[in-house]
């Protein structure tokens, strides 16, 4: 009797779970078939089959350019944010300097304020110091929103690190740099790599900060799609989005393999 009840309960919850998961992934799943429509109307189910909306991407240079620009920006952001964040996490975890509590909450502080407000503040300040609308301004704002994630991920990664390994290396005559490259870094590499991929995605997906930082010559892909969507809704958005979805999936699988999405999000959700 009890057993029967037990097996029945998950099934009701299971059905709800199935529909919620479907609700969360369906907006992305539905875009891909839509992009192959042969008509000019955005409709689902799509009619006919053609690749014309993929060919039409090439008629819109702003999408090709912003795609390349977004990739460049995201890669530079990821590299710089990873270096800065990893160094800071190492300093906090290894040396535990005076006031490290204050310093770490300072380093994580951008996560406590909405991105929109960070964008507005940066626009006002950058206008004052002449950085508004420049590539450097956009890059700095993207680094700012990525660094806290890297610090968090690498700091968590260091929590299982055994410092006696470093001591052993230095006793055997390795200098600090060599110790870092040969001993410390290989052991925290998964955390650093995850931080790097997460920083890449943070920059590549961002709209709310970019909104205030871009200029006509420095428009990111999400911003180009956002602007285009406000004027017209055609299957062109579907074909561009499909490409971005497939590209993002590659990175998502890397993250899942290297670090595990649950751990990644577990550490983020507390920060907001």
């Amino acid at each position: 009797m009890i057993r029967e009840k037990k097996s029945r309960r998950p099934s009701v919850l299971g059905i709800i779970t199935f529909f919620v998961v479907l609700m969360v992934i369906s907006p992305l799943l539905i875009i891909i078939p839509t992009s192959f429509t042969s008509t000019g109307v955005l409709r689902f189910p799509p009619q006919g089959f053609s690749l014309q909306w993929y060919e039409k991407i090439f008629d819109r240079p702003e999408f090709i350019e912003s795609f390349g620009f977004s990739l460049q920006l995201a890669i530079i952001t990821a590299v710089i944010a990873t270096v800065i964040g990893t160094l800071a996490a190492l300093a906090l975890h290894k040396y535990k300097p005076r006031g490290s509590g204050v310093i770490s909450s300072l380093l994580l502080s951008p996560l406590t304020v909405p991105a929109l407000i960070i964008g507005i503040a940066a626009l006002l300040f950058f206008t004052r110091i002449g950085l508004a609308g420049t590539f450097l301004g956009l890059l700095l704002s993207h680094i700012l929103i990525s660094v806290p994630y890297v610090v968090r991920l690498v700091y968590t990664g260091l929590s299982t690190f055994d410092y006696t390994l470093e001591r052993a290396a230095s006793i055997l005559g390795a200098n600090p740099l060599r110790t870092f490259w040969d001993v410390t870094f290989p052991l925290i590499r998964p955390a650093v790599l995850s931080g790097c991929v997460f920083a890449f995605l943070t920059s590549f997906d961002n709209v709310t900060v970019s909104l205030f930082m871009i200029s006509p010559s420095t428009t990111t892909l999400p911003m180009a799609i956002f602007n285009y969507m406000q004027e017209s809704l055609t299957p062109l958005v579907a074909s561009i989005s499909s490409i971005v979805i497939l590209l993002s999936l590659v990175f998502i699988f890397i993250l899942e393999r290297v670090y595990g999405l649950d751990r990644l999000f577990g550490s983020n959700s507390h920060a907001h």
Partner: protein, 287 residues
């Protein structure tokens, strides 16, 4: 020199400097500068004034927008709670493999730009979209339902992007529940219904609380979803702030709206915390 390089404090400082420069230069200083602009005339140079804030509260137009932002955020919290709780319960009793799969499926869309997810919703909810086409071909409706470019569209879009926070917050608190509690309750004759209200619900309160504050604050400040799924008719504070900054170029008002948004979010979350806590204290003292 050598001893300086080997001193721990020096190395630590050296490693921390780049990060702190970014945080101070791109975040802390700009926030203070924005505060000055909202509080002083002539772009933070002139006399102190509260004119920008007074302007926001004098005009019912702005108060209405604030109220709409709060209301839509509350709706979103309700949808996320009602839909997210069963998912968290299911995850808590599922096998680790199933748990991992659901976590992956529910988090990964979150790593793709919200612009693209909202576009997917436009395809689903639009006049020629999946729902309207299906319902019309089944002759359930003769004219397409208006599911987009209104408050409903915004709440659907926000719930889709924020439910992940609610699910993860509640499931984390449910993972910690000792399963022998259910066994004991069952032996003592408690029904499923009773078990839910005396075990699952009370023990998930911290998770519900964390999820609620998180979803609420994120909903209050979202810009993309209201702009793309609400259209021009559903104006919320972040959209208003963007317009003032980029279209009207009224930067002191834009800065004031930013602080109104920040202040109202923090204020409401604090109020909620206080209400929940005093209620909890009362329960403790009365029993």
């Amino acid at each position: 020199m050598n001893s300086l390089l080997r001193s721990k404090g020096f190395i630590a400082t050296l490693l921390l400097v780049p990060g702190l420069i970014i945080i101070l230069g791109v975040f802390i200083l700009p926030m203070f500068y924005m505060l000055m602009i909202s509080l002083r005339e002539d772009m933070g140079q002139g006399a102190w004034t509260l004119a920008s804030y007074a302007h926001l509260f004098k005009d019912t137009y702005y108060v209405q927008i604030l109220w709409r932002t709060v209301r839509l955020s509350l709706y979103t919290v309700c949808v996320c709670l009602v839909l997210g709780f069963p998912v968290a319960m299911y995850m808590a009793q599922a096998t680790p493999k199933m748990r991992g799969l659901i976590t992956f499926l529910i988090i990964s869309p979150h790593l793709i730009s919200v612009v693209i997810r909202n576009f997917g919703w436009v395809v689903i909810l639009g006049n020629n979209g999946f729902i309207n086409n299906t319902l019309m071909s089944l002759d359930v409706i003769s004219e397409p339902l208006r599911l987009l470019y209104n408050e409903l569209g915004v709440v659907i879009g926000l719930s889709d992007s924020l439910i992940v926070y609610m699910v993860l917050a509640i499931s984390t608190s449910l993972y910690a529940v000792d399963s022998s509690l259910y066994k004991a309750a069952g032996i003592l004759g408690a029904t499923r219904f009773k078990q839910f209200f005396s075990i699952t619900l009370p023990l998930s309160i911290p998770g519900i609380f964390a999820g609620t504050t998180l979803v609420f604050s994120l909903a209050m400040s979202s810009f993309v979803t209201p702009a793309l799924m609400g259209g021009t008719s559903v104006k919320v504070l972040p959209v208003l702030a963007y317009e003032q900054m980029m279209a009207s170029l009224n930067w002191s008002l834009g800065a004031a709206i930013a602080f109104l948004l920040l202040g109202s979010t923090i204020g409401l979350v604090t109020l909620f915390t206080k209400l929940v806590e005093t209620k909890r204290y009362k329960e403790v003292f009365s029993s």
